[in-house]
Symmetry: C2
Subunit: 358 residues, 2 copies
């Protein structure tokens, strides 16, 4: 097998040893005579898997018992709706920082439910960036404040997360578990699975139980956070295989810890940004102070060169480098599981490409 380097923004690269373990056990899970996919979710074997995933996340995120760890189908997109449906009452207002595509998507859904204040708006700024602390205007008594810790498309990332008076909620879809975070500052953290957690199919929701209690009790059961808390994320059949992959991925991650993983992520990103900054051929699209360690975005002198860059990189085994269709350019997504050697290969490819085409 010849494994390529997969720079996709999500679904994204998974640790090779996790995939190999899943493959070995796929038809016969640990001598049970069944696949993990075929087992009752109420059976001992699967329950142990889900409990391990929750315990690993508690340990990695340093969560106290005040927090519940939930797995809710529908990805971050359903969270864009569930959050305001639960907490944004008729006479309330929620603060949202509009930092780009995904923040704007969250705001659009919240506005279908209630009143939104944009605590800052740098959605369309070029270079792309996150707001400075001085720009943030929070509403006294807001139902909650919402941020997007990393904008996957623009490649901008909060380097210092804000602390707010209102319950702070963060969409961490594209940088969850990539760095240590003080979870105690958050009322809720959510993240689609398909970047740093495992395959697509659920959102991780970490929520302070007393915050969840404030949710709208008239909602259908599946849309109330309290339902999932009361049932240990087993109100209905969970996406068992995806959570099994999460258990394996978090077990792999625990071997490093978030501090070490963060150092490695910073180092990987720094190499790419150094290559971008080494001349004028490549041009980073995010403001330097907010450059993402997860999604490295840059442009070439022309769109023709960008297309050629992606095509030739792909032939060289460097795949998924095309920027999001809404913005174009190049995007190298280098999540936790993306290997250092792949970054080195891309840096070398960038040098060679510039020599040939610059």
């Amino acid at each position: 097998m010849s494994r390529i380097y997969n720079f996709s923004a999500g679904p994204a690269v998974l640790p090779l040893e996790v995939l190999q373990e899943a493959q070995a056990d796929l038809v016969d899970y640990r001598g049970s005579g069944m696949s993990i996919m075929e087992m009752s979710h109420r059976g001992k074997e699967y329950m142990a898997v889900q409990e391990e995933a929750q315990a690993n996340l508690r340990e990695l995120l340093g969560l106290t018992d005040d927090y519940a760890v939930l797995f809710i189908q529908g990805g971050a997109s359903l969270q864009f709706a569930m959050l305001p449906m639960n907490f944004l009452g008729r006479d309330a207002v929620a603060d949202y920082v509009n930092s780009g595509h995904w923040a704007a998507a969250a705001i659009k859904q919240a506005r279908l439910v209630g009143q939104v204040n944009q605590a800052a708006n740098c959605e369309k700024d070029i270079p792309t960036r996150m707001p400075e602390a001085s720009e943030l205007t929070w509403t006294p008594g807001a139902a909650y404040a919402h941020i997007t810790s990393n904008e996957t498309i623009s490649g901008a990332q909060w380097k210092s997360l804000p602390v707010t008076e209102a319950p702070l909620v963060a969409d961490m879809s594209s940088d969850i578990l990539s760095r240590p975070v003080d979870a105690a500052n958050f009322a809720m953290i959510y993240a689609g699975a398909q970047k740093n957690l495992g395959p697509a199919g659920f959102a991780l929701v970490v929520i302070r139980k007393d915050f969840a209690e404030r949710g709208n009790k008239a909602l259908p059961a599946m849309l109330r956070y309290t339902t999932h808390i009361e049932n240990g994320s087993m109100y209905n059949t969970p996406p068992c295989f995806s959570i099994y992959m999460l258990a394996l991925t978090t077990r792999w991650l625990k071997r490093f810890g978030l501090a070490q993983m963060h150092r490695q992520n910073v180092e990987k990103a720094a190499r790419l940004y150094a290559a971008i900054d080494s001349g004028t051929f490549y041009r980073g699209t995010a403001a330097k102070a907010f450059r993402s360690d997860m999604n490295v975005t840059f442009r070439l002198p022309t769109e023709e060169l960008e297309a050629r860059f992606c095509e030739e990189a792909s032939k060289a085994g460097l795949k998924g480098l095309k920027g999001h269709r809404s913005v174009g350019g190049i995007r190298a997504s280098i999540y936790n599981a993306f290997p250092v050697e792949g970054v080195e290969r891309l840096v070398q490819f960038m040098k060679d490409f510039e020599k040939r085409c610059g």
Copy 2:
């Protein structure tokens, strides 16, 4: 590897050859150098998988272009909420047939949204059953009429599905694709994946496009059927691996077709019911006219004997026979992928057990 016989109600047994193909391709999907789980859902390879799954379902269910085939995360439980949220307006009423645990669960969620009429109620009848045609009282002008084609827990199944004036909606979670159905009679069919479709992680929703158009346009995007139709079930990242397994499972099923699969399902169930009816030791819990071909439910003379039956069966490689915790007894779930030999083994085990303990 010694494969056991898995009678679990869901997640449930999958075709062995489907699991083996998924295993072979798990780390390196068809020489791509990536797992199917790692690929962009907008890439050619994954798109072809999702399109195959949709095409297979269209063929198997005989769907015209009037219908959309959707994959929506959250299982049947989220459909219990989405259905009334979309179609049950303030001044409207929806008809629900209360045929048991799962119908009652759907009704409970609908009542959080609007007004429900029970077109018939045999929820607590013993023996468990579906209503006779003469019992059904439909509301003129109802927003929709809802049935549960097979009650997974009680083991009762509609043998002749009703035709209604109001748009007919069916929860077919536990017997989808187990028999030919005239889809043209339905405005919407939905089914949690984890019985006859693949691993847990989504609901299949087959919906007539003009019915979907009637949905509440003020809902958040993820909760509107029209969103998923307009985006070909790619509004957000789909549960790619689960849909890949669906593609393989429906490809496998197409080799037989629904008519042949139905004959085989009836034959498998008939063998078990014959064993139950052969004496007085075993007692079927569903009325004979409504006995399910998917979930065969029965009792033994005492709960102690039932516990011993499950324990000894499990040791003999016949797993997952314990009835649902809400009703007790024995339940043998024998979905499409459950092999005939497993049924024969259970029949033999039942005979032996009766000889020893009867």
